[in-house]
């Protein structure tokens, strides 16, 4: 029994990390139609930001809580820069944003490789993440719980922000009808920038979480980008609920596959699973039923 439960816990944490990586994508891809392949590199920037914060605040207990907002802002600013310099000229060419951001990702990776040691940098885990918590008779590593908690907080904050703030309402209005939003006095340019800032910032937060679990190096973003995209696609474009379920499902599936087979084979199987799923439901888990071609 334990053998079946352990991957579930582990998988939930893995799913939470995937969710964090996918959340920002869901925002920029789902709400703006931009396919940002550099999103993984923004995640990497968040992880390196955590490392740099630790160089200033050496107490790891304190540095990680400080790193979270710092990583959000730093990665967000990179996203903003990308939007202002490149993306804003390409809103009518969604497929091309994919290729342009591939180029941006390459450059960021190479820059990280040259700035930081090529084998990566150590991000120290805070002491308060070392323990385990006993829930329902099972020992939950605090590190995993922390990832799940962080993902939950981000999801809650994002959905509240979209739902209750005027900025959030404007984002949704812009998504639904850009022209109408513009004529009703919404500056869609500002909204685009803000959305991109937030989406990229979330990648930064995901990066901090990733740095606590795996290595922090120039290649780490590339590992996350495809799974994160698959999660967004499987969840249904622009569907927060779908993204959450898809991320959790992929995380748990990965964990069980890894338990039964090997880590790399698990990845292959999870990919195939998502592809088969998209075959059954090309629009993802949740879709808005409209009069469009389904």
């Amino acid at each position: 029994m334990d053998a079946l439960i352990a991957p579930l816990l582990n998988g939930s944490a893995q799913g939470a990390l995937l969710l964090l990586a996918a959340l920002g994508l869901s925002l920029t891809f789902g709400q703006m139609g931009v396919i940002n392949m550099a999103h993984g590199e923004f995640l990497m920037i968040g992880a390196f930001a955590a490392y740099l914060v630790q160089q200033v605040i050496t107490a790891s207990n304190l540095s990680i809580p400080v790193a979270l907002p710092v990583a959000f802002v730093v990665a967000g600013l990179f996203g903003l820069l990308l939007e202002v310099t490149i993306i804003q000229w390409m809103y009518r060419r969604p497929l091309d944003t994919l290729l342009v951001t591939v180029g941006v990702g390459l450059i960021l990776q190479q820059a990280a490789l040259q700035i930081f040691p090529s084998q990566g940098v150590p991000v120290e885990k805070p002491g308060w993440l070392d323990g385990q918590l006993n829930i329902l008779g099972y020992e939950w590593p605090l590190r995993q719980l922390f990832t799940i908690l962080l993902a939950s907080v981000c999801v809650a904050a994002l959905s509240a922000w979209l739902k209750y703030t005027s900025f959030g309402r404007r984002i949704r209005a812009t998504v639904q009808n850009r022209d109408l939003a513009e004529t009703s006095g919404i500056s869609t340019r500002t909204i685009d920038r803000l959305t991109f800032f937030t989406g990229s910032g979330l990648a930064g937060v995901a990066g901090v979480a990733a740095s606590l679990i795996g290595g922090t190096n120039s290649q780490m973003g590339a590992q996350y980008i495809i799974p994160a995209f698959l999660v967004v696609a499987a969840g249904g474009i622009g569907q927060l609920k779908g993204t959450i379920i898809a991320a959790w499902a992929v995380g748990v599936a990965l964990s069980y596959f890894a338990y039964w087979t090997t880590g790399s084979l698990a990845q292959v199987l999870a990919f195939i699973l998502v592809i088969v799923f998209l075959q059954l439901r090309p629009q993802g888990l949740f879709t808005v039923r409209t009069r469009s071609l389904a």
């Binding site: 039923r289 409209t290 009069r291 071609l293």
Partner: protein, 256 residues
């Protein structure tokens, strides 16, 4: 060319609980220019969408013996049902000839698709003649005038040998002369085919319709000749105040 009629019986289309078309029945026969009219949101375009497989509908739409509902879009087309769209959709990149050639090509074998075109199909020449586009053979469709694009679409239906032509607001945005030319064109091609026109323009309808079905809020309000329909008090009620405005040529809004 064909004796088969298009018979629509109790057609219903729903979108997530919203009934866009609620039990519409009408028929159209070769030789007549059949009009489907009604105010915005009456469900005219949705009717066409359902017949052509774009929207899911229940009830029945038969062309002769063959049921159309529930078939895939391209299979319905192969049964001889062709349509145009409110916004002319032609292949802007390709020339008029290439556009028509593609429309004419579905009967071709796979092998002949791999060959290069030599000369112009007789059916294409005929359609060019019919629609007055003969001089535009090598013009990229993208730079045709709005009216010419609509004619190109009709020409494409002709070469694809459609038995039923469903035309969605074919004269929207056309000049008065172009409307007249289009009306005459419809009359000519209706001789051997079923022509069903969705229109807002009441004036155009009056001049060219043989029979009319008036839709209102997804239901048939009235049906008959132009005179019948115009005399119907229910129709007058629905159109009161709007008919005039439309007749002078207010640009048509997209029906949604």
């Amino acid at each position: 060319m064909t004796d088969a009629s298009l018979v629509v019986t109790d057609l219903r289309v729903e979108f997530s609980g919203f009934v866009a078309v609620g039990g519409v029945s009408f028929d159209a026969h070769p030789g007549e220019v059949r009009f489907l009219i009604g105010p915005n949101g009456a469900g005219k375009t949705t009717c066409i969408d359902a017949i052509t497989g774009l929207a899911k509908g229940t009830g029945s739409a038969r062309l002769g013996e063959k049921e159309l509902l529930g078939k895939q879009v391209h299979k319905i087309v192969r049964l001889g049902v062709g349509r145009t769209f409110q916004t002319a959709s032609v292949f802007d990149e390709l020339t008029v000839l290439q556009n028509l050639d593609i429309a004419a090509g579905r009967h071709r074998s796979a092998l002949s698709l791999l060959r290069t075109r030599r000369g112009v199909d007789p059916s294409i020449e005929q359609a060019l003649e019919e629609t007055g586009l003969a001089g535009e053979l090598t013009t990229p469709a993208g730079i045709l005038s709005h009216g010419q694009k609509q004619w190109l679409e009709i020409a494409m239906l002709l070469v694809q040998d459609a038995k039923v032509l469903l035309l969605d607001e074919p004269v929207a945005g056309m000049s008065q002369d172009e409307r007249t030319a289009t009306g005459e064109l419809l009359r000519r091609i209706a001789a051997k085919r079923i022509v069903l026109v969705v229109e807002h323009d009441m004036d155009f309808m009056r001049r060219y319709a043989t029979r009319v079905t008036v839709l209102h809020q997804g239901k048939v309000l009235s049906q008959g000749t132009v005179a019948d329909v115009q005399a119907d008090p229910k129709v007058q009620e629905v159109y009161l105040g709007t008919a005039d405005a439309i007749a002078v040529g207010t640009p048509n809004r997209k029906e949604d």
